[in-house]
Structure formats: structure tokens, C-alpha cells
Symmetry: D2
């Protein structure tokens, strides 16, 4: 089995994925997408930045939209257990020869920026400003009724190497696709918070951000979003779905924001908190791993992803593929 045994005593305790900062080229157009259409809530905004949270989140933000000249994914944020674990995380990255830059991140007590070995820019922190609950303010629910950020998915030029690193820092594999011919990993889903994943890696020129996903209440909310987008000028932004993934069992929809950043709406995966939860293996040749049912994914879904700031993607060691950023 190409999947490493889970590291049950990792060097520091990461709680969950937390947020992403996206560079966008037309902030008001992005606002129309994320706020008016998806239904995320604005927690703060000015002329160059919009902070958003989903309906059951109490942290200050899960997405930061930043007006930029060129679209891109600026960094992925992760929350660790407490300040002690944050220091241990910093020590771990430093010991690996990876950069550790303590930054002044708005609404966060202490944060450092680093990169994983493949170059994905990361922000770690323990405490973010907390906001009052709004999950029972039902008059605020709109669009797809997004409840919380669920996961990131990244193109990786060497999934085996990516998994080795993230497994070492305590992310546990729940499902994976193996290339039976080479015995290598094609794609892998890893979690901290007890769902199928906080982050996934898929073979391809990278690193690039494939998508950011939001958990929604039921498949009917995704159908509501499709009805809304298809009749309010967003039809072309619907990329793939709805359908059900074999991997994760999730009911899904993929859409693209005005800059081409990909968002997944996602529900009905399963609980994975058991430390002895066995990963599920899928063969690369099994088409139901991606699509238990539903139309095949379009070419763009396989090829396009957001560039990470400061990292040029490289070709996969497994199979060459085009490097396309929206």
C-alpha cells in the first residue's frame, strides 16, 4: 500500500483548515459572486479587501478577497490547537529548512507564514477573533446557505511526496487513488477535523489550488444555487455537476468565481474521527472513483487551477499535463 501509516503523535496539533486569501481583479464583481450569489456573510470590508464567513462559523473569516492586478491564491490558512502548538509548528518548519515568517495577520493573535516542501504558501495560527453566532439568524441565509469551509484541493506534481509530508504533520489519509501500473499515488484525501478531508492532492502540474470547498446543508441547496446561477447571469460559471463522487461519497457542484478560482459546494461525506479509520483505495482506472454518477468532468476541471503566490508550478513526475491558470 502506497499510503503511509498515520502519524498518531505528530509534532504539533492542527485542528482544521481555516481560511484562504484569494487575489481577485474586480472586488465588486467577486462580492456579487461570493456574497449575493453564494450567500457568504461579510464580516468586514473596505475598498481593497472583503472578509467573509459562512453561516455556522465564529472565526472572523474563511475567505479574504483582496483586490489585485493578477488573480491568484495567496496562502492557505490552518488553525492549530493553541499558542504552544503554534510555536511547535514554527519549530518544525524551521527544522525542515522551510521559511517561518511571523506576520501581522488581521484579526489573528499570532501567525506565521511558511511553505510546504512543494511550495504551497501556508499560514498557521492558533487564535482568530471570534464573532457572535449567526447560525440561527435564519433571515440571513441566502444562496446555497454555506455553513462552513470544508477543504482545499491542490494539484501536486508529486502526490507521494506531498502525502509523506502532510502525513508527518498529522493529516490522516481517508481515501486515495493508486496508479496500479506504477504503484504510485495519483490523488489522496487527508483530514484533521474528522471529515474526509481538510486538504487533498491530485496529480498535475503544481502546486496550484484546484478548489476551495464549502459544506452546505443538503443536495437541495445545491439545486437551489443552480437555479439561481442559471437565471442571474452566472450560467457560464457552473463548471461541473451536480453529481456524487465515489471518493468521499459527497454530493457536489463545482463553480468558478469571476477570476476562475474554483469553488466546490459539498455535502454528505462521512465522519472519520477514529484513529484506526482505514483508508479506502480506488484504482485510477475506475471511473466511479470521481463520478459515482453524473456527467464526466470537462477538460477545464482537469487542467485549470489557481496559481499560488510566489511559486511557479512544475510538471508532474507521473504524467505531463498542461499548466493552465484561469
Amino acid at each position: 500500500m502506497p499510503v503511509p501509516a498515520p502519524n498518531l503523535y505528530p509534532p504539533f496539533n492542527t485542528i482544521r483548515l481555516s481560511h484562504v486569501e484569494l487575489g481577485v481583479t474586480d472586488l465588486q464583481r467577486s462580492r456579487a459572486f461570493y456574497v449575493d450569489t453564494l450567500g457568504l456573510q461579510v464580516t468586514e470590508e473596505d475598498a481593497s479587501t472583503i472578509y467573509l464567513r459562512a453561516m455556522e462559523e465564529r472565526g472572523h473569516h474563511c475567505i479574504i478577497l483582496k483586490q489585485t492586478d493578477k488573480a491568484g491564491a495567496r496562502y492557505l490558512g490552518f488553525k492549530v490547537y493553541d499558542e504552544d502548538n503554534l510555536d511547535r509548528a514554527a519549530a518544525f518548519f524551521k527544522a525542515r529548512g522551510l521559511p517561518v515568517d511571523w506576520v501581522d495577520s488581521p484579526h489573528i493573535t499570532r501567525a506565521f507564514r511558511t511553505r510546504d516542501p512543494q511550495g504551497i504558501p501556508l499560514e498557521f495560527y492558533a487564535r482568530m477573533d471570534r464573532l457572535p453566532p449567526i447560525h440561527q439568524q435564519y433571515a440571513l441565509y441566502r444562496g446555497v446557505k454555506p455553513l462552513r469551509i470544508d477543504h482545499f484541493n491542490c494539484f501536486s506534481p508529486d502526490v507521494d511526496a506531498a502525502v509523506a509530508f502532510w502525513n508527518e504533520i498529522g493529516f490522516r489519509v481517508t481515501e486515495y487513488t493508486e496508479d496500479a501500473d506504477t504503484g504510485r499515488l495519483w490523488a489522496t484525501w487527508l483530514h484533521r477535523k474528522g471529515g474526509v478531508h481538510d486538504i487533498a492532492f491530485t496529480n498535475g502540474a503544481g502546486p496550484r489550488l484546484h478548489h476551495t470547498a464549502f459544506w452546505v446543508p443538503t443536495p437541495l441547496n445545491i439545486i437551489d444555487l443552480l437555479d439561481l446561477m442559471s437565471t442571474t447571469g452566472w450560467l457560464a460559471n457552473i463548471e461541473r455537476g451536480p453529481g456524487r463522487h465515489g471518493i468521499s461519497n459527497a454530493f457536489f457542484l463545482y463553480i468558478r468565481d469571476p477570476d476562475g478560482h474554483r469553488i466546490e459546494l459539498y455535502c454528505s461525506d462521512y465522519q472519520t474521527v477514529d484513529p484506526d479509520h482505514e483508508p479506502i483505495r480506488w484504482d485510477l482506472k475506475d471511473p466511479q472513483r470521481q463520478t459515482l454518477w453524473g456527467s464526466p468532468a470537462p477538460r477545464s476541471w482537469f487542467e485549470e487551477g489557481s496559481l499560488f503566490a510566489g511559486t511557479a508550478p512544475v510538471q508532474s513526475t507521473l504524467a505531463a499535463s498542461p499548466i493552465i491558470a484561469p
Copy 2:
């Protein structure tokens, strides 16, 4: 407008579409599809014939499956108001020079078979055996929880002519697709019972039966069926969907039975009982008429249809297309 004005005082009063007899080549395999998978209820069966009804129907059958050497659609059944209207219907068809054969149709008091001018075999009747209600026997609900037969859709080589005839016998147009270049009808939906259609005609080599549709409670039941079919050996029988039609506004799924007869699962169209209900016009060039959202229909969906017994399809007068029967 190429749509004729509704005939508010037709020669006889048709209540609704009622049933279809399908020739199938492996009766037990068809039973596995219609009964075990879709969830229709068997009301009678022997070695060569299975009668089915949906959960809220009290008529004895909406589908008759008949073991045959060659698959095909044997006739479409319609219910008229009473025996007097049945006689008036027979007189109307006879006056038109169309065949009227009084037949001994099981579980039906009096029935005649005829054909519309394009050759579709039809059965008209007023009274069928009634069965006790089962709509509150919730232990019987299975599969997609089919509630009632909703409509037929047929390929027609001359939609203008088909609509002229069916409009004359009181079927009212609710929506239609016009070929703006020629001013001719490409497709038309006509109803008697107060929904978007009892029967529709789409341009193509015909007559052939494109599909028979069942009304289901909610989109979630269609998603349940997709989950079931994709994990019980019926994945290849899913042809198109789920999606929402622009025309009819229905949430839909198209599947194929073991002989290739197409079944639509359908919900959330709208009420059309008003005699002054205005038809909605769609342009042939508007892709949202077929697919408000959802993946494009595959080629098979455009080309394949069940042959009607005793009628050889002819080419469309509007555009040549392949004549394919599953």
C-alpha cells in the same frame, strides 16, 4: 405565432394520458428495472405480461410489459371522460379516415385502438378497473417513489402537423420551440390534465416514442435513484441528468430500461388548468430551453427512440436525422 389557438370545444373530452404497452425481450430483467429499481407496483403478472401502477394511481395499470421477440412501443393509452365521449372519439377518428378497432383490452370496459395521422398507435377508453388506494402504505415505497405517469414524448417528422391534429382534439400547447429561420415548430408540449404536458412532439425521424415520464415527489428522490442505480449494476442505464429543463421547469433524469426504452423521472413543473394559459415560446437557438442548467444531452438522447408497432418512421420534413431504435 406558429401555435394554433386552443380548441376550447373539442370533439371529445380526453382526461389524461393513461398507460403504455411496451414490448420487452426479457421480462424478468425488465421487472428488475421497473419494480425493484424504480419502485413501480405489480398489480398483475403472468409468464408473458406484467401490469404496473405508480403509488398514487388507482387505475389498474400505467405500464404493461409484454414479453416479445423485438422491443417496441405497442400503443399509448388515453382516458376519456365517459363512455359517451368514447363513442364521440371513435366517431371522430372514423370521420377522419383513421382506423377504429374495438378491442378486448384487459381490465378496461370498452376500448378502441386507432392511430393519429402520423401513425402513432393509440388506445382510448373511459373506464379501467380501479384498485384500492396505496398512497399511504408507506412500507411499499421504494426506488424513486414514482407517484403517477406524467407524459409521453414522441419524435415527430412534422411537428406542425402533429400539433394541428392534437390541438384539434383538445390538447392545449403550454410551451414550444420555434425555428426562427423557417417559422416552423421544432418541438411542442400539449396537455389535457393541467400540467405542462400529457404528450410532447419533438422534431426527428418518426413517429418514435422518445420517452415515458413519471412524476416523483422531490428532486431528492431522483438523487436517491441515482445512488441506487449507480451501485446496483444500472450505471450504464443512466443517460442524461440530473438537470433542470428550461421548458417545463422540470427537474429531470433520463434512464433507459433493459431494452433501451427511455424513462424520464420528473418533478416540479407547474399548473396549467387555465384555458387562457399562454404558451411560452423558446427559440431553437437558446440552449437553456432544454437545459436551464446541467450537462448537455448525449447524442443518444437526440437520436434514439422506441419504434411504434406497425409504423415505420419517416424522415423529418425539417432536418434529416438518423433513425435509431434501441
Copy 3:
């Protein structure tokens, strides 16, 4: 059986229930209820009147809210097939010695007001102004996503007499509750448009309007409304439900508007277009007739109803009950 045989050839052809005019004492408060909370669409308004329609309706209005000193139900509106049927209706009522007053009803070509024998004020018409479809303007959907007016339910002091009259004018019984001790009807549901009812009568001091019902897409929309009402100051206006009726099989919720007019949100009854559709009998002693499951109805639901303009309610001939108007 205490239910009369259906009159298949009634004196005139009524298509469906159409609209109701409600007197309300605080028009803006009523607007907050019907528009902001339920999600009905305003088609016209001024200082004293608001016209509303539901999402799939094309007629100009299904509810007229009229600012008045004293709350009440002013009349129930019904649509007939065409102007000829309207004249036949007028002749029928006149022949019965019932009033026929031709009125200038806004947005209606020709209309007359009358009363049924128990005194319910009625408006009949054939043609109302038609509006463009909005059922695919998904950005407009709000609240419970009301699709169309579904039925009226009235307290009647003599249900047998009410059914005899309405059956004569072509309304067909679908379900009824019989008092086995007396052999008399306790409650009856009658339809024209092909669902379980356009109008129902329940034993009680009357005539009074028990409720007006709206068809909604799925039970989840009713749950959404409950979430919304319970967190926006309308908790006390939730009267009964959610639950499922034995009679009609509908999933239901009853709420009260600011003046106490009762509104039912309703879905999942069944098609009844067959002229030979057999009524279902329920025994008055069977509690599942009202509540297949769900909490018992509160006392207010049994006792309170809107007064009809110009008609004082009288005691039931079957059982005395309080006469309470909200």
C-alpha cells in the same frame, strides 16, 4: 354513503379557485407577513390595497389585502371556463334565488358577486389580467417559495347541505369524514382542478373561512419557513404543524396572519382528475384522518375562523361549538 354521486354534467364549468379578498387592519404589517415572510409577490399596491400572486401564477392576483377597520374575509373568487360559462353561472345562481351582482372587479373583464346557500360571498369570473411568467426568475423566490393558491377551507353549519350544493355545480368529493353515529358528513373535500380540493367544508358554526392554502415545492420549504418565522418575531403566529394529514396525504403547516386569518402551507397531495375517482371515507373517530402523524391540533385551530363579510355565522346542526373570530 352520505356523499352524493358526482355531477359530471354541471350547469357551468368552474376551472379552479382563484383568489380571496381579505380585510386587514394594518396593511403594512400584513405586507411584512405575506410578502417579506411568506414570499408572495406584489403585483400592485397603493395606500389601501395590495395585490399578490404566487410564483407560478400568471393571473394578476390570488390574494387582495384591503385595509379595513375590522378584519374579515370579503369574498372567495372562482374562475370559470369562459364568458359563456360565466353567463350560465349567473343564470344558475339567479334561478336559485341567490343574488347576482355584476361588479367592476379590478383586473377582471366581467365578474359577478353572489353567495352560496349558506351565505359565503363569492366572485365568479372567466378572464383576469395575465402577467408574464416569473417561475424561472429564481432570484425572486423567498420565504416558503409559494407556488400557487391551492384551496379554501370553510366552517359550515350543515356540511351535508353545503356538499349537496357544491356537488351540483360540479365540485367532486375526494375525501370525507362521516359521523358514523348519525350517518352525516362531518367534513368534505371537493375539487375542480384535479387535486384533493379547491374547497372543503368542516362542521362548525359558520359560514366562516377556516383557511386559505398555498402549494409549496417540498416539505423542506415549510421547514425553512418555520426556521424563519421562529427567529424573526413570528413564532406566535405558528399555530399547528408541521405534520401530515391522513385526509389528502398533505404535509402541512398552519400559520396565522397579523389579523388571525389562517394560512396553510401545503404540499404532496395527489392527482384526482379521473371522473371516476372514488372518494375516500374516514370515520370521525379515527384520529389519523386529521393527523397521520404530528402533534394534535390546538383548540384555536378547531374554533377560530375569519368571518365572511355580510354573513353572521349560525350554529352547526350537528354539534354546538363556539363561534370565535380572530
Copy 4:
């Protein structure tokens, strides 16, 4: 605030609630309830014992039904992180003077039984036999489609004391009801696995088991169960609901098994993995804490609970209440 600060470094790491053993007096009748009606899967059975799991669980069992002369709750099971944590748990309980009996628990590597200070019988273990996934065998889904065991709820005679103990072993409070007059806790919800609770305590004569809850996909599955139970002879076993709790925000239904053991069907609470997740306070006088909307709970729901084996309930220190076991 009467809620203790979370103990972020507890003496041992509990992963989640795991299973309950219920004594039942008619095993086959209980099978009809849990298997045929709710839809739990049998993983092993003999004449005296049935082991059950829910659809996404891979552990061997979440409920053990044991034929007994007298109904009762025999113990609540919890899973810890690994064998080392199991030994630390044993040491902790021993140090507190609580019993630690290592037992031969079927399908579990090593397990000990103990009691919390109020006498609730508990089983702790780290590794249970694992079974192949069935969550994508959609043909197996039945009844309410139970996905996983979600939580226990217990009557406690001293909620402050119960919370102090369970908080010490790492269970974190998410919501609580305070009696403003006394400043004492009336009820508290505590979690390990990242939802609103693994266990809750409510003031009342105890300890008694109030209910065991299962997570289900959507509110519609609960409505399906209501339809099924109300038409298959289980109507009287529906105790309360459906409704939405203020606390937890869950959509709920409470039903009773043939021995009166209470089962909750539950969905749509929220993620609580953040160590700094702030508990939500509710006032005992706020009726929306229990019922955001829905009918009031019946008396039985407040008073009746399953007795724990070997522990006689005692009166609450806060308010006397009847001690009723079904």
C-alpha cells in the same frame, strides 16, 4: 458563568461516544423496530443478542440489544485514541476511587468497565473489530437511513457535578441552560468528536438514560420515518417532534422502542472542533432553547428514562421530579 473552562490537556484522549448495550424484553420485536423500521444493519445475531451498526460506521456495533427479563441501559461505550490512552483512562478512574473492571467485551481488543461519579456504567476501549464500508451500498439503505450514532443524553441529579467531572476528562461544553435564579446548570451539552455533543446531562432524578441519538442525512429522512411508522403500527411510539431545538440547532424526532428506550433522530447541528469554541448560554425561562419551533414536549419526555444497570436513581438537588422508567 457556571460552566468550567475547557480542560485542553485532559488525562486521556477520548475520541467519541461509541455504543450502548440495551436490555430488551422481546428481542424480535426490538429487531422489528431497530432493523426493519429504523434501518440499522445487523452485524451479528444469535438467540439472545443482536449487534447493530449504522450506515457509515465501520466499527462492529453501535447498539447491542440483549434479551433480558427487565429492560434497562447496561452501559455506555466510549472509544479512546489508542491502548496507551486506554491505560491512562483506567489509571485515572482508579485514582478517583472508581471501579475499573477489565472485561472480555465481544469484538473489542481490550476494554474496562467503570462508572462516573453519579453511577453511570461506562465501557472504555481503544480498538473494536472493523467491518468493510457499506456507505455506498445504497441498496441497503432503509427507514430513516441512520448514518452514525451521535450522542447520549442522561438525566442527572446534579448537572454541575456531572459537568465538572466530564469536563475534567476533556469533554467540552458547547451549550448550556442556566437557572438564573440559582446560578446553577440545568442542562449541558459536551463533546469530544466535534459536534454539539457526545453526551448531555439534563436535570432530573438520575442517573437515567434519556435517549440515544442517531445522525440522519436530512430532515426529509425523518419525515419518511414518520410516514413509515404512522402506517406500520408504530404510531404510538412517536413521542415528540418533528421540530427544531434552539440548543444545538438540530432538526429532531424522538421515538420510543418497544421497551420504552428513547431514540432521537437528529441532523443539522454544527461543527465545534475549535478549542476556543465559546459555549452558548440559554436561560431556563426561554422556551425556544428546547423548541425553536414545534409542539411542546409531552410530559413523558420530561419524566421517563431508562434505568442504568446497577444504579438506583436519586432525586435532583435542584428540583424534585418523578422517577419514571418505561
